[in-house]
Symmetry: C2
Subunit: 418 residues, 2 copies
C-alpha cells in the first residue's frame, strides 16, 4: 500500500491542499477562524496518521437532483486522493437527510423530496461518483440505515448536546431571520441528522464543502458526547461558475456531469481565465505536482487556452473515458476553435482588386506590424499561424477563401482577413 511508502508530511500536504475552512466564530466554542481552524485540523490529521493504519474517510451527499455539475464532485477528488494512498473511503448516500434537505448556506427553505425520488437521484450520484472513485474498494452506505431507527427520545438526547444559542446564531440562519425570511424549525434538525451520521460511521475524517462547517461540527460534538474522538474536518472551497459568477443553471455557467463530451470540453474552454487555478485544483484528477506546473504556466503568461485544453481533456476523460476525450478535443479543434476565434478578433478587409504577393506585404501594408523585418522574424521563428496552422515559409502565397481566414501573430494576436 502506498500509505506505507509516503511520509506523513507528504500525506498531510496532499490532504490539506486546496482546502478552505470556515471562520464562523460562535459555533461550539472551537477555534474557528480560518487559519486557527486549519492549524487545528492539520494537527489532528497528523495525530491520526501517526496511528499508521488505513484511515476511514467519508463524504456524505444528499441526492436532491439528477442535474449534477463538477462543483458537486469537488470533495470526490479529495476522496480519490485518500483512496489512492490506501485509506478506506466511504461514500454515504443521504437518502434520509435528503428528504429534509440541508438548509446550510441556503437563502430560503428547501424543496423536500420523497424517499423514492431521493433513491432515484442516488442512483445517478453513485454511478457518477464511480467515475472518480474505485467502486471495488469504496464502501457505500445509506443513512436511512440508522436514522430511521432513531426515536423521539434519541433525537432529544442528540438535541440536548447543543445550546439553543448555537443553533440560532449560525450565520445562514441568523441572516435569514434578520432579513425576516422564512426559516422553519425543522431546518435546525438537519445538523443533528448529519452529525449522527458521523457518529454512526465511526470515521476518522469527513470531507465536504466548507459551507457544511456547522454540520461537520455537529458531528464532532455528537462524537465527543458519546466518548469518541471527533473526526478531522477536511473542507473545500465552493467552486465558482465558469464565468466567475455563483454557479447556477440559469446562468448557464455550470459544467454538468451529464454534459456530452464535446459540450463539456467546450464549457471548460470557456472558463474565465481568473478561475482556471480554482478549476485545476478542485475539479481535475491531476496530482499536486502537475497542478503546480500548470498554474505556473498560466502565471508566467502562457496562453491560458493551452492549460484549459489540458483541463478539458482531463474532465472529459474522467467522466466519459479516454476515447471520448480525444474525440472531443479533435472536434473542438476542428469546429469550435476555427469558428469561435473570428467572432472575437478584429477584421481586416482587403478591398476588391487589391492583392499581396506574400504575408509580409499584407501584414505591413495593413498596419498589423511596424516593419517588414518584424513580421519576417515572426514567421521564420514560428510565431505566425493561418487558421491555427503554423506557417514558416515567408513566400507562401496569399489566398483568401470566401468567408475569410484567421491569422495569428505571436501568442495572442488574432485577425480575421476578409
Amino acid at each position: 500500500m502506498l500509505i506505507d511508502k509516503i511520509s506523513m508530511e507528504e500525506q498531510v500536504a496532499i490532504f490539506m491542499s486546496g482546502t478552505r475552512f470556515a471562520d464562523e466564530t460562535e459555533d461550539f466554542g472551537e477555534n474557528s477562524d480560518e487559519s486557527s481552524l486549519r492549524t487545528q485540523m492539520r494537527e489532528e490529521l497528523k495525530n491520526i496518521l501517526q496511528k499508521g493504519r488505513p484511515l476511514r474517510i467519508y463524504l456524505g451527499v444528499d441526492p436532491t437532483s439528477s442535474n449534477l455539475h463538477v462543483g458537486h464532485f469537488v470533495p470526490l477528488q479529495k476522496l480519490r486522493k485518500f483512496q489512492k494512498l490506501g485509506h478506506q473511503v466511504i461514500f454515504l448516500i443521504g437518502d434520509y437527510t435528503a428528504t429534509l434537505g440541508d438548509p446550510s448556506g441556503q437563502t430560503a427553505e428547501r424543496k423536500r423530496f420523497s424517499h423514492e425520488q431521493t433513491l432515484e437521484f442516488a442512483k445517478t450520484y453513485t454511478k457518477q461518483a464511480f467515475k472518480i472513485l474505485d467502486s471495488e474498494i469504496t464502501e457505500i452506505r445509506y443513512n436511512s440505515e440508522w436514522l430511521k431507527k432513531l426515536t423521539f427520545a434519541d433525537i432529544i438526547e442528540l438535541a440536548s448536546i447543543f445550546p439553543m444559542k448555537q443553533i440560532i446564531t449560525r450565520r445562514d440562519f441568523k441572516q435569514r431571520m434578520d432579513r425576516g425570511e422564512s426559516l422553519r424549525f425543522h431546518e435546525a434538525l438537519y445538523s443533528l441528522m448529519q452529525g449522527y451520521d458521523a457518529y454512526a460511521l465511526k470515521c476518522d475524517i469527513q470531507v465536504g464543502a466548507y459551507d457544511q462547517h456547522f454540520n461537520l461540527l455537529a458531528g464532532r460534538a455528537i462524537q465527543a458526547f458519546y466518548g469518541e474522538t471527533p473526526h478531522v474536518m477536511i473542507t473545500n472551497p465552493i467552486l465558482i461558475g465558469t464565468d466567475g459568477r455563483k454557479m447556477s443553471k440559469s446562468y448557464g455557467n455550470t459544467i454538468n456531469i451529464f454534459d456530452e463530451p464535446f459540450d463539456m470540453y467546450g464549457k471548460t474552454m470557456r472558463i474565465s481565465d481568473d478561475y482556471i487555478e480554482d478549476y485545476l485544483i478542485l475539479t481535475s484528477s491531476f496530482d499536486s505536482k502537475e497542478i503546480s506546473e500548470l498554474i505556473d504556466k498560466v502565471r508566467k503568461g502562457e496562453n491560458p487556452m493551452d492549460v484549459k485544453k489540458k483541463l478539458a481533456l482531463d474532465l472529459v476523460r474522467t467522466y466519459h473515458g479516454e476515447k471520448a476525450a480525444c474525440e472531443a478535443e479533435e472536434k473542438f479543434r476542428q469546429v469550435v476553435q476555427k469558428k469561435e476565434a473570428p467572432e472575437e478578433v478584429p477584421e481586416i478587409n482587403i478591398p476588391e482588386g487589391v492583392s499581396y504577393n506574400n504575408w509580409i506585404e499584407l501584414c505591413f501594408n495593413t498596419g498589423l506590424v511596424k516593419s517588414k523585418g518584424e513580421i519576417r522574424r515572426l514567421i521564420t521563428q514560428g510565431g505566425f499561424y493561418i487558421d491555427n496552422e503554423q506557417v514558416k515559409d515567408v513566400n507562401i502565397e496569399v489566398v483568401i477563401p470566401e468567408g475569410g481566414l484567421i491569422i495569428r501573430l505571436g501568442k495572442r494576436k488574432y485577425y480575421k482577413i476578409i
Copy 2:
C-alpha cells in the same frame, strides 16, 4: 345526562370560571392578549357545545415528582366539572414527555428522569387524580403509545409547521437566553411532543395551567396542519403558596396531597387571608354558587377562619375521605386552635392576689370594654367565648388555669388572660 339538562350558557360559565389566559403576543399570530384570547376561546367553546354531544376533554400531566401539592390538581377540579356534566374526560399520563421534562416557565434546564422513574411517579399521580375524578368513567392514556412510534421524518414534519422565530421568541426561552442562561436545543422539542398528544387524542378541549400556553398552541397548530379543528384551550392561573409567595417546598407553603389529614387541615387554615378566594376557586370541590357565597362572606368581613375551616374540611374530605376530614377538624379545634390563638392575641395579665367575681367585672376593669352593659349584652347574646366555647352565663366563675386561657369578644377580638 346533566349535559342535556343544563343550558349552553350555564356550561360556558362553569368552564370559563376561574380561568386565566396567557397574553403572549407573537405566538402563531393568534389573538393572544388575555382578553381577546378569552373571548375567542369562549366563542369556540360555544361552537363545540352546540354540537350537543359529550365533548372529549383532556389534561396531560408529566409525572416528574411524587411530591404533589394541591396546585398540581387545579386543572383536575376543572375536569371534574366537565365529568359531572357527562362529558368524556381523558387523563393523559405524559410518560414519554416526562423523560424530557417540560421547560415551560422554567428558569433553568430541567432534571430528566428515566422511563421507569416516570412510571413510578405516574402511579402516584393516577391514584391521587382519582380522588377527584371518577375512575369508572375516566379514560387513562399514556403518550408513549404514539410518541414512541414517531420517526425522525415524522418529527421533521411536525417541526416544519413552526417558524423558528416563534420557537425562540416565546417568553420563557427568550428570557433565559437574554440572561445568558443555559437553554438547550432539546427543550424546544417539547412543544412538538405535547402538541402531537393533542392531535393523537382527538379531543375538543385541553385544560391546563396558563403557563402551558405555548404547548397548547402547538397542539392547535398541529391539529390545523393535519386538517382538524384546533382544540379549545381552558387554562387556569398558577396557584400561589399559602403564604402568598411562589409555591415551593423550601418555603413550606404548599399543601401536599400526601400530607396527613390533620397536617393538611392545619396548612389550609394557615392560608394567607388575601389568597382564600384563589384557593376556594382553584382547589375546592365546591360548585360556583357555593364558592360565590363563601367569597361574599369573606368580603363582608366575616371571620376568614370560618371560611378556611370549610375549605380545609373540603380538601381533607377530597383527599382522605369524610371520616378523616371530620377527625382532622375536631383535632384541629381541640389542639391547634387552643394553642395557636394565644400566639396571635394580646395578653392581659391579672396580677397575683387580684380576683374577679365574674367575667363582666374582669373585662370592664381590665379595659377590654367601655361599659359593663356592653360586655353583659355580648355574653347574653352569645358573643363571648372562653377557650372557644360559648359562655352565656354572666355569673360564671372566673377560674384562670395555669398557662392562662383565651377569651373571645364578638367575632374577632381574642385576648389571652393569664
